[in-house]
Symmetry: C2
Subunit: 423 residues, 2 copies
């Protein structure tokens, strides 16, 4: 009798998983609170713990592999970046544009140079210079979501430092794309004697920058018109679905142009001004940012837990991996700190530096690409090197929010105590 099976539906187990993830996130946040760490660090570490739990007891669900949790975590990051973009305007970002550009450029070059030098000098046994170059490239691009969440926790996402960090991270996304194409080209070129793919490199940069230019010019001109039409609609509850549709559309188009979807979503937030949606906000008696907040609250912890759960705890336990991870972490943090000083006068370089420290998705993409590149008959990155690089990505990802929370004013503890009635 298969009737029972047909009624129990395919998504039911994801309900259990999501419930467990939200509970774990809140327990992780509580532990982080007692350790005086930012909430995000607690959620990331809880993700690592869940991955270890799954490895030891396979009956425990594999968080990293759940398609439902993945899509929600992914949408959470897109929605978070849209919400962050809404808090700034295009002119505000232009104002910090040069500072961001300096930070982004130094933030790619300095960690790469330091890591390349460090691995050549201190760990010469790793192999050809192209390997070291690729490893160094993995540490180049900042993962923006984590710092943004810490900035939000401390109410600093709209400070000059916050804007420089976000702006530099967006530019980092373009630079990361170029570094990946260039470095993989150089690795392959050094292996089989072909030339570096300058044409591909140039085209990719042109398309990515072209998208952002179009979004800010044409998009900025069309958005008021689009939302004026939208406010003529007589239906209810238009603001949030239409706002999200706008953000998701730009995220998709940005992705077509080679950028991460979160960059397009952030651009959508920058373009959309309060004036464009005032009629809809008045009619629905809620601001778009207020409406987005519950979505972020529900979805973002899933992202951070899942990012932590992508780490393979067992592969990390090898002398080479641990050495490499520690070395890369120290050099990677130093590199981004140097970048912080590039932000110029009036900006606290330590805040910017720590804000640029977390690596994540982009670094993981580098590692995935590196695992597919074959050099001298073997993979470019051995399992040990891979584990070391991933370990370094994880350490920077946890170290970033911790460092940022130390240099940012305001402590979670005081706020939480103030808010608890009767204690």
């Amino acid at each position: 009798m298969t009737v029972g099976l047909l009624i129990s539906d395919p998504f039911a187990s994801s309900l259990l998983l999501l419930a467990l993830l939200w509970l774990s996130a809140k327990v992780g946040g509580e532990i982080a609170y007692w350790l005086r760490l930012p909430t995000v660090a607690g959620e990331l570490l809880m993700g690592v713990a869940l991955a270890a739990l799954h490895q030891k007891y396979p009956i425990w669900p594999d968080v990293a592999a759940s398609p439902e949790a993945s899509v929600l975590a992914y949408l959470g990051m897109v929605v978070l970046m849209f919400a962050v973009g809404l808090e700034s305007t295009v002119p505000q970002m232009v104002k910090v544009g040069f500072a961001s550009l300096r930070v982004a450029l130094v933030g790619v070059v300095a960690p790469m140079a330091l890591c390349l030098l460090g691995t050549r000098l201190l760990m010469p046994g790793l192999g050809a210079w192209s390997k070291d170059l690729f490893i160094a490239a993995c540490l180049s691009a900042t993962s923006i979501g984590i710092s943004v969440q810490v900035l939000r926790e401390r109410g600093a996402e709209n400070s000059p430092e916050g804007r420089v960090i976000v702006g530099a991270a967006v530019l980092d996304d373009i630079l990361g794309l170029l570094v990946l194409v260039a470095v993989s080209g150089m690795v392959l070129a050094s292996a089989d004697g072909t030339s570096i793919p300058w044409m591909i490199l140039g085209t990719k940069m042109f398309v990515a920058i072209g998208f952002l230019a179009l979004a800010f010019s044409l998009g900025g001109a069309m958005t008021p018109v689009l939302f004026k039409i939208a406010s003529r609609l007589r239906g209810e509850e238009l603001l949030l679905p239409l706002g999200l549709a706008f953000a998701f559309l730009l995220a998709y188009l940005g992705n077509l142009a080679g950028l991460a979807p979160i960059v397009g979503a952030y651009a959508a937030g920058l373009i959309l001004e309060p004036a464009h949606i005032r009629l809809l906000e008045e009619r629905e008696a809620h601001g778009l940012q207020d409406l987005l907040r519950p979505l972020v609250v529900v979805l973002a912890p899933l992202f951070f837990i899942q990012m932590g759960s992508r780490v393979d705890p067992v592969a990390l336990v090898s002398a080479t991996a641990i050495q490499l991870a520690l070395l890369l972490t120290i050099l990677g943090v130093m590199g981004k700190f140097i970048a912080g000083y590039a932000s110029g006068r009036g900006i606290r370089s330590s805040v910017v530096g720590w804000g640029m420290v977390p690596r994540g998705e982009v670094g993981l993409i580098f590692v995935a690409v590196g695992a597919t590149l074959g050099v001298d008959g073997g993979p470019l990155l051995s399992p040990e090197i891979k584990a070391g690089v991933v370990g370094a990505l994880l350490l920077t990802t946890v170290a970033g929010p911790i460092g940022l929370s130390f240099v940012l004013p305001g402590s979670l503890r005081e706020k939480a105590v103030d808010r608890t009635p009767g204690s």
Copy 2:
């Protein structure tokens, strides 16, 4: 060079799809407004239109097949039912319990009897009586999500009629489960001479009712304790993730007991009382229902669009299918109308009747089961019959909200005009 492919991520296309779905939902709502239909009907019909568009131009995405849209639509229905449950309490539901039970029982028996009689008398060419019985069973269970959304649009979800409808629909879910097991058992028994599986039937009923009894007794006793512990946590933004975790956990457990997950989520909402979460609500300066609202606003339209898109527009175009669809629709509406009169004194039977009219998910599950049952060397339901039954499910699903909006006071048009500033 596969680098570009690796960077463009697997979920990007679902961003485009979601943006299109939200836009379509709002356009559908606008058309519904001009036709003086409820928004849900517009979204359902827009779903049918999108399915037709995909059939004609396969480049247009297949909404019904998208796993990302499916999981969001599914979660939307779970969250909606949790929110609806929050608006009532267990004692309030007990008060309308007998009325709901009468409506549910009559609402299963009357449409089945009418449809069985109708098809035997008016369409004798369909085949064995077991076929007619199975077809009639497909029309027995109410799809609650649609009526709930119309009740919410009209602010009537917390009226006595609203409670009777939701209560009867929850009981319908248990009855539907039993009918499916009983009818498939009878069909198979009549085909190969085995006996009707009374044991399975009894066990299923016992487990399902046992779950609800446990949820209301033990769950009701434990919930205040759980949320008291939760309010001791020092982290921020606890209320919504923990509330959802609670709802999803009960939805999962309910599904283990054989019920649809939305029934468990509704039970979670009933159990959770304002007093249990007052501390958290005060600390976060938001009520749980306010926090759930944006989630429902974003997710529920995806459910209604996708439900519409599950219809195969081409299969509907056959004389037998159209005849069967119309016949079943008329008899199915009449049957639920009779059920409305079972609700007793002080309850407007026309509201209850129309509220019970929409069939949907459960009916589709019946059809799917029917397609797998083989009788006399062929499938129980031929493609034509299948199309006719699905057509009837669709027609009731659209007719229900339209009828309900006529008998419920208050019109969308007036409200929308009032709210538009300066018009």
